[in-house]
Amino acid sequence: MALPADTSQPRFAPGCRWGGSGTERTVLFPEGVINVQGTGRRILEACDGERTFLDIVEELQANFSASDPARIRADVGSFLESLQEKRIVDY
């Protein structure tokens, strides 16, 4: 598998979901837990299966307008790719 295509719709893989409460959101997946905060959390919260990868990247580029857009795109892509390899996210 590879980086998400622009039109792909990233979402949690079956059996993967949010857990935890309040400020610390955790991602629960088979026999594991990942704590996500900050940007990672925002990206995952945007992975609702409706928004496309491009939508998500553009949202973040708009919110972090001071940062290099190409860098944001690359970071979001590799973040999602690593979660896909762990079978936490599908796209």
Binding site: M1, A2, A13, P14, G15, C16, R17, G19, G20, T26, L28, F29, P30, E31, V33, Q84, E85, K86, R87
Partner: protein
Amino acid sequence: MSSYPMALIAEITHRCPLHCVYCSNPLEMARAESELATADWVRVFLEAAQFGVLHLHLTGGEPLARKDLVELVAAARHAGLYTNLITSGLGLGDDRLQQLVAAGLDHLQLSFQDSREDSANWIAGAKAQSHKIALAHAVRRHKVAFTVNLVVHRQNLDHLEEMIRFIEELGPDRMEIANAQYYGWALANRAALLPTRIQVERAVEIVAAAEKRLSGRIRIDSVVPDYYAQYPKACMGGWGRRLMLIDPEGHALPCHAASVIPGLAFDSVRDHSLRWLWEESIAFRRFRGEDWMPEPCRSCDRREEDFGGCRCQAMLLTGDATATDPTCSKAPARGLIEDILRVGNADSSAIAPPLSMSSFAELERQTQALWTYRVNPK
């Protein structure tokens, strides 16, 4: 000390329709009459979630042997726990699978003993393979995470590649290649299960190639068997650090094998809160921290990584639960492991062919020189 365990392992029964020779349940098992009631488990799940526990592992024996399993899954999910079902699949038809998923089951882990039907049934001591395959197909039709747990050892490692491809066809999200661990029945049967060095080295290569090939499709988890490793496993993530196990009768244990350690009394959820059991019970405190460590562990750089290895294994192999796990290359008792490996590798031709018998009793008779099949609690 962590304020609470990350996961609760609910060993809800020791009853099981299979007789796997590698089973790590204790040799002395809980009787059916003494199992916790549904209401007890429901209360434990609520307490666990309030305490901060995130994951629940429903296991056994065979958890499907509990008639109230759907109710238990619903209660756990309602309490906010992530539910993992660790199962052989025996006793799970389409209806019940549907009910489990509807109740909120997050993850189903299905065991396979081999790719080949004759070998799989011989290892399990039951004609289970065709049912497991049918179940794997059924699971794929539901929205639940699906893992296949393949237990590997001397008797099947020679065709690991074939087994991996077989599992691929079943379409799981994850695959665990689980080397048999020597507790309970597996310890009694170790001579028949211990892989040769060549098998282990070849397995490492095969798994690495499969990981690459399946990257993005199937996640593979596997660990080198500890007898062949340089350092011991960080058993359970450390004693009383990440996990709490509740046995069928309600005793709280730091791990499934802890009853082999003499002088440890285990308190029960019938009498105490989970918080008390985690923080105050003698069993959970026994090997926390470093005060109990002998040398070389006490001064070792790795002590916060592997905690000196497994206490139960140290007890079983050396007679001393505080000893450095003998699988560690720095362990004073490492020679014990070397002796076992030497004997095991001297006899690489000891792979026995699968036998199929008309009855379980006949199968036991024919294989009694090879191994002992797991039996049910009385």
